[in-house]
Amino acid sequence: MNVFDIIGPVMIGPSSSHTAGAVRLGGVVNKLADGRKIKKVEITLSGSFAKTYKGHGTDRALLAGIMGYDSFSPEIRDALDIADKKQIEYVFLKENIRGAHPNTARIHYYLEDGTEGVMQGASIGGGNILVNRINGMEVKFTGDNNTLLVMHEDTPGVIAGVTNLMHWEYEDINISNFNLSRQQKGGIAIMSIEIDNQPPETLVKDIRGIDHVINAILIRKI
């Protein structure tokens, strides 16, 4: 804790969990889109998000984050209009996602290049978030650090391949958190790797080149 945790953060109101945290959750989708144009989002709200989103502007906050705005951007208030102007289709649904944190959103996004994906995460208080699922697979990261998501075939040696590359080719990289999940044995698996440092530009490309790696995405600190 430091003095700016108390006098701060600078944010758009009214609520750190229902507004500021929601912007950051939307921000994860913005990073997943990786610069490609987002065509449509279906946003499912659960728990307290579903009940109070209108009064807290959670809908605007999520959309603003998806469009790349920060939790202190004044544009959040007008996010619905901005999305209309940018021709991003959006729909808000309510569903009780079983076992999920009370402030959970699931965002199904469709990109112009035909790619689609689903991100599920929770706003866990004070503007902090926890991403729980990407494309149906369990992940676990906070967005506070740079996070590498590596989708790969579940076969021996892939984790070693990725971590060896990180260590031997980029010796300064330090892993602060590692999580692995898979749909089924021999199916598709996903590593979420949080790293302390500022990752070099070439890292993602190099990891994509490793055998059995399907895709790698870097989600920079949100």
Binding site: N2, V3, I6, P14, S16, G55
Partner: protein, 294 residues
């Protein structure tokens, strides 16, 4: 490096080094965050400027909250203050208007500085911007005093809580008032010990305040509670500056606040299950916004 686990310790350290709490904190934080003190000062100055902007934004006549339940309180109070008929006098009425404006700015999705939370964001700017605008205090001193508020807030967060969901409104508006009271004393030339006394008095005066937001929104009664926090900050600072002692030491007041917070039922800790939220009108307003299905 300082630990921020005891205000008494902070006071002792400041007295030992013959510095203000704000100077002690700024220099310590520069080491802790590994950033030059000048940069931290500039960052805090930026926050002060945002507070000034929040006052202006929330003072606009047509500023409505997202739910439509609240809005315009800052504008109305300011107009009343300018008529110079108020019981509290011009200075205090304008300060009240500013606290309302910032809390209203928050409710209408404007930009604010959480201090320590979004729900209690009107108290510190209400105090500091008023000293700037109506008493001509130097910006540099006001910015520095925010480090004192921050230091006291860190101790409160460490020993007790600054979250309504954990400690009720005493943890949010109570903490904000206690932090602001300490800032005010330092600005008025009070000693570190008097800062601590003002903090203790402010906490004592909001002990037990529940968090009972109508419909779970940061509006009713939060916006007006920023005003009670502000008034308590000013009165506590004045009592401390006058030399009135709190009798219960500051750290013990903070510990008592934690115990009271723990003893509060869940219905009175930001769940909108009790207090004003559960009144017939509170429920009616909730249904009006979200429909009766919720």
């Amino acid at each position: 490096m300082l630990k921020y686990t005891s205000i008494t310790e902070l006071v002792r350290e400041a007295e030992k080094r013959k510095v203000k709490i704000s100077e002690l904190t700024l220099n310590d934080q520069a080491k802790a965050i590994e950033t030059p003190a000048e940069e931290l000062y500039d960052r805090m100055k930026e926050s002060f400027h945002i507070m000034e902007e929040s006052v202006k934004d929330g003072m606009k006549k047509d500023r409505k909250s997202m739910s439509g339940l609240t809005g315009g309180e800052g504008y109305i109070m300011n107009k009343y203050a300018e008529e110079k008929k108020s019981l509290c006098g011009s200075f205090m009425s304008k300060a009240i208007a500013r606290a309302l404006a910032v809390a209203g700015c928050n409710a209408s999705m404007g930009k604010i500085v959480a201090a320590p939370t979004a729900g209690s964001c009107g108290i510190l700017p209400g105090c500091l911007v008023s000293l700037r605008e109506d008493k001509g205090f130097a910006e540099k001193d006001l910015v520095m005093s925010m480090f004192t508020a921050g230091a006291f807030g860190m101790v409160i967060a460490e020993r007790s809580s600054i979250a309504g969901a954990e400690g009720g409104c005493q943890a949010e508006c109570g903490s904000a008032a206690a932090m602001a009271a300490a800032s005010l004393v330092e600005l008025m030339g009070g000693t570190p010990k008097q800062c601590a006394d003002a903090c203790a008095i402010a906490i004592s005066n909001q002990m037990g305040l529940v968090c009972d937001p109508v419909a779970g929104l940061v509006e009713i009664p939060c916006i007006k509670r920023n005003v009670s926090g502000l008034v308590i900050a000013f009165s506590s600072a004045d009592m401390a500056l006058a030399g009135i002692e709190p009798k219960i030491p500051v750290d013990e007041c903070i510990d008592a606040m934690r115990e009271v917070g723990e003893a509060l039922p869940a219905s009175l800790k930001e769940t909108a299950g009790g207090g004003l939220a559960a009144t017939p009108t509170g429920r009616k307003l909730k249904n009006q916004i979200f429909g009766s299905g919720n």
